[in-house]
């Protein structure tokens, strides 16, 4: 029985059991990760999982069931159970559910991949992590860690509307971190970010990171941070490196524009959003420099795909244009509730999880400056880079971030290194204060976006570049 046949059997069984719409995803995922510590391989894991998840709409109520088998019997049973669960949902019913149209595509799609990451020998991968972590120890790190991860996912989607789509998405990436341990605290430096950079690409991404070349520098920086002066407390101009700005976008824009949050569907857990749909198209989100797109078509970015997990094709859309809020991340059902005509941002973390609204690639378009120009134009400020901690309220307004490293900026020059740099603010006020933006955009990958109950881990991309923000509160500490 083919994967398409199994998905089709599940869909048909759900329809036979009373569903008016059903879709099913078969997923076959292989995952590999290796971590090294202080010049030794610490753990090597290879997982492989195959299963089927089917979603049924009975009346205006949804049900979902997942099984780790692809037999005809198992698929049909899953479809029936999904319909039965949907019927039970009707015991506490909501408003009518409709789906925005999605042309029933019959298609195949694969992510770009030059070097199959699972084809690279474990010895080669191990040597890379062992060499890089060993070099960090040699240069003063108390704890030197290296990590790579690979996901190789094949999936087959069938809907009762006629969709029949298969996709093969390969994702990988990695990074290194050096930690120096003082009497009362630790200091960490990472390259290119903590737990690494990721994309829908082959091993060529890891090669391009040149981990070993950065090992000595970050180890020495982690050691130097232990005795560096504290980031001063107060309001100042803040320059963020691109990696940190990527997470700022993720937390204070990406999640805020998720339509399920705006509609209250995540109210008890992930939270809601400060955004009001009545202001879509008119709300001033940020400065004129702020142009943010929702773009799952970026080759190699971590949030890229051919079709989302409802069968909607990848399409680039504006989320914020010249500082004005103009778009959301939506699914077919949430879009109808909001009166919108597009979905396209629904994904599931594996076969056992319900597809839900997730970020794709949500990021900034390039600005007119360079980091060098931004520093040169700043009389008094702090430059912070590489995220260390992140926290934001349930409406995505009040945030506080910590970075691994900061530098004092005085009279247009980068000065002393600063430890424990933190900054805090309110999302729209912060974005409205952005007055310089670099053109040096990198699509940063975030492979650990948590959402949903049961929990799902999403892989998202965030094009970002260094930028300057005025009068930001920095140096918050216990």
């Amino acid at each position: 029985m083919s994967e398409f046949d199994a998905a089709g059997a599940a869909v048909q069984a759900a329809l036979d059991a009373g569903a008016r719409y059903a879709d099913a995803r078969v997923m076959h995922r292989r995952y590999e990760s290796m971590s090294a510590r202080n010049g030794e391989v610490e753990a090597l894991t290879q997982d492989e999982s195959v299963g089927l998840g089917v979603r049924a709409l009975v009346g205006s109520s949804w049900g979902f069931h997942a099984v780790p088998e692809l037999s005809d019997r198992a698929a049909r049973d899953a479809g029936q159970r999904a319909a039965r669960t949907a019927t039970a949902s009707g015991l506490v019913p909501g408003p009518p559910v409709d789906l925005v149209p999605s042309p029933p595509a019959i298609a195949s799609w694969s992510s770009p991949c030059e070097v199959d990451p699972l084809g690279v020998s474990l010895a080669t991968k191990g040597d890379l992590l062992v060499t890089a972590t060993g070099a960090m120890v040699d240069h003063g790190a108390d704890l030197a860690e290296g990590l790579y991860q690979v996901w190789d996912t094949a999936k087959w989607f069938v809907s009762s509307e006629g969709h029949r789509i298969d996709q093969h998405i390969r994702e990988c990436g990695g990074g290194i971190s050096a930690t120096s341990i003082g009497d009362g605290e630790t200091q960490r430096r990472s390259w290119p970010s903590y737990r690494g950079q990721y994309g829908t690409t082959g091993w060529e991404l890891v090669d391009s990171l040149d981990l070993t070349a950065h090992a000595a520098r970050i180890a020495e920086e982690s050691r130097a941070l232990l005795t560096a002066p504290l980031c001063p407390a107060g309001e100042t101009d803040l320059i963020l490196g691109g990696e940190q700005l990527a997470l700022q976008i993720h937390e204070s824009v990406g999640h805020a524009i998720e339509l399920d949050r705006i509609l209250g569907w995540e109210a008890a857990f992930a939270g809601t959003s400060w955004l009001d749909l009545a202001q879509l198209g008119s709300l001033r989100y940020g400065s004129e420099l702020m142009n943010i797109t929702i773009d799952p078509t970026i080759p190699g970015a971590l949030g890229s795909f051919g079709y989302d997990d409802e069968g909607s094709p990848a399409v680039k859309r504006d989320a914020v244009r010249a500082g004005r809020w103009v778009g959301v991340l939506a699914g077919r059902d949430s879009a109808t509730v909001a009166g919108l005509d597009y979905g396209g941002s629904v994904r599931a973390d594996g076969w056992a999880r319900l597809p839900m609204v997730r970020m794709t690639n949500v990021g900034l378009e390039p600005g007119p400056h360079t980091l060098e120009e931004i520093v040169a134009a700043t009389d008094n400020g702090v430059l912070m880079d590489v995220n260390r901690s992140w926290s934001i309220d349930d409406k995505r307004l009040n945030f506080q971030f910590g970075c691994e490293i900061g530098w004092e900026i005085r009279n247009g020059r980068r000065g002393r290194m600063l430890r424990n740099p933190t900054y805090t603010g309110i999302g729209p006020l912060f974005w409205r204060s952005m007055d310089m933006l670099s053109s040096e955009v990198v699509s940063w990958g975030t492979p650990n976006c948590g959402k949903g109950q049961p929990g799902q881990v999403g892989h998202t991309g965030h094009p970002a570049a260094p930028a300057r923000f005025r009068n930001v509160r920095v140096g918050v500490r216990a």
């Binding site: 030794e40 753990a43 299963g51 949902s89 474990l122 934001i392 309220d393 349930d394 216990a478």
Partner: protein, 493 residues
């Protein structure tokens, strides 16, 4: 869900161990865990069920150590071909990886406790039963908008290794977590139990609604240090972060933890016990080590950290039964931590003495109705959810009552400085009475410092088990009165 005709988990685990011996020779060491799970979660928002999921899953996890090299892997296939593919894949990985001189060896044959108390009605609960629980929560909220979930989880697991050790067990759990919403303010109630029948959906809905109504029209309060009463949901966040970063044996070995066994690091009022068998937990960990109650802090003195076999070997200790899929990298962590209530004799094995009954059973307490206080202020009804918390609040001159903490993240793991926000209800307490709702505040605080000797003014007498995001993980605590909590930002930044 019905009785299964497939091979049992122990049979599958044994077959995998045999396969490893056949393909890699008798010298190869193998450990296998086979887990079948039926997990279901009924989620509601805007007072309607909008997501309703169920999953029947099976996982085989294998770790081998052959010719001095170690590799691990997992799979979802339990057919003969699937098991053989898993074994071949993991053996191939072990052959091609680097030597592992720190391999701690396999768990020798030891008696493991048997599973007790798992509830078949919970294990086999259907979507109708969860929907009825949701209906009760929604109806009890008196017309307020509600959101949350009701979940049931059932796991059957077996362990076998090539040293001849084997164990098996079953666990079932039910949990409900919800909010009610009133005029932009939210109130919460949650509870984790062994039996679905012990959940009180109506009681939880009533409690959440009362707290939401008490949270409307909040005032903004200047950031600063305030005495606080943390309710059990907020204390759960302390327990989780202390577990992840403090009592994590790997981080202790790496000197990234504040924990130093033998030192009086926390207030004498604090006793912390990790007690997997205090609920219907599995009786062994991923390495087959039997689970047991482990006292981590006894009357303020740190006594232990959690270990798997590898972290234990690093300090010449024994595993405490905390191996997990993530423990080789993140470290072994306590997942069933209890803050022992005041008035409880002894530390370990006190499950029956905590009074951890259904949270919703009490509902809003005698704090109802505005009453005149000594200062002439009106007490706010509904904010305080139970008499135990009310007793702690009554001894606060001026401070804050905190229902819940949100999005807490570590600024530094060794000092365990954490930032986060209050959520689902924050109130000003004046002269022993809750007087007004306050807008959420951001805090930046060192958790060990907040619990340091002299900092814990009072521990409540009634613990409530709080569900984690992952089934099988829970945090059990009474309310807690602390001398000071460092609020570093208000709603306006």
């Amino acid at each position: 869900m019905s009785a299964r005709s497939e091979p049992g988990e122990l049979d599958i685990a044994g077959r995998v161990v045999e396969l490893v011996a056949r393909l890699a020779g008798a010298g190869a060491q193998a450990e296998v865990v086979v887990t079948r799970a039926d997990l279901a979660l009924t989620r509601f928002a805007n007072s309607a069920i909008h997501q309703n999921v169920a999953e029947s899953a099976v996982e085989v996890r294998l770790r081998v150590h052959a010719d001095g090299r170690t590799a691990g892997g997992g799979g979802s296939a339990v057919t003969a071909d699937g098991l053989r593919a898993l074994v071949e894949r993991v053996l191939a990985a072990a052959r091609h990886t680097r030597p592992d001189p720190a391999w701690p060896g396999l768990t020798p044959p030891v008696p493991a406790p048997t599973s007790t108390g798992w509830d078949a009605a919970t294990a086999y609960a259907g979507p109708d039963e969860r929907a009825i629980m949701v209906r009760a929560f929604v109806d009890a909220a008196g017309g307020l908008e509600t959101a949350g979930y009701c979940r049931t989880a059932f796991r059957e697991a077996a362990f076998a290794n090539s040293a001849g050790h084997a164990a098996q067990g079953r666990t079932a759990e039910a949990a409900m977590d919800g909010i009610a919403r009133a005029g932009g303010a939210d109130g919460t109630a949650r509870h984790c139990v062994d039996r679905l029948a012990d959940l009180d959906g109506a009681g939880l809905g009533q409690r959440a609604a009362a707290k939401a109504r008490a949270a409307v029209d909040p005032v903004e309060l200047a950031p600063g240090r305030y005495p606080v009463v943390l309710e059990p949901a907020a204390v759960a966040d302390l327990l989780q972060n202390l577990s992840w970063y403090g009592f994590n044996g790997k981080r202790y070995v790496e000197r990234q933890s504040f924990a130093e066994p033998g030192l009086a690091q926390l207030d004498p009022a604090v006793t912390l016990v990790d007690d997997p068998l205090g609920a219907a937990g599995l009786p062994f960990d991923l390495e087959g080590t039997p689970t047991r109650a482990l006292t981590l802090v006894d009357a303020g003195t740190t006594t232990a950290v959690a270990h798997d076999r590898r972290s234990a070997a690093g300090v010449g200790a024994e595993s405490t039964g905390h191996a997990s899929v993530d423990s080789p990298t993140f470290g072994p962590i306590p997942r069933n931590l209890r803050l022992v209530p005041a008035g409880t004799a002894g530390a370990a094995g006190t499950a029956g003495a905590t009074g951890a009954g259904p949270a919703g059973a009490t509902g809003p307490t005698g704090m109802s109705g505005p009453t005149a206080t000594g200062a002439g202020r009106a007490a706010l009804a509904g904010a305080v959810a139970d008499p135990d918390t009310a007793a702690l609040v009554s001894r606060v001159q001026r401070g804050l009552l905190v229902s819940d903490l949100w999005y807490t993240r570590v600024l530094d793991p060794k000092s365990l400085v954490i930032t986060g926000l209050t959520r689902n209800g924050l109130w000003l307490v004046e002269e022993g009475q809750v007087t007004r709702a306050v807008r959420d505040l951001r805090f930046t605080e060192s958790y060990p410092r907040a619990l340091a000797p002299g900092a814990v003014l009072e521990v409540g007498r009634r613990a409530v088990r709080q569900p984690d995001r992952t089934d099988g993980v829970w945090w059990e605590a009474p309310s807690l009165r602390l001398a000071s909590w460092n609020f570093t930002g208000g709603a306006s930044g």
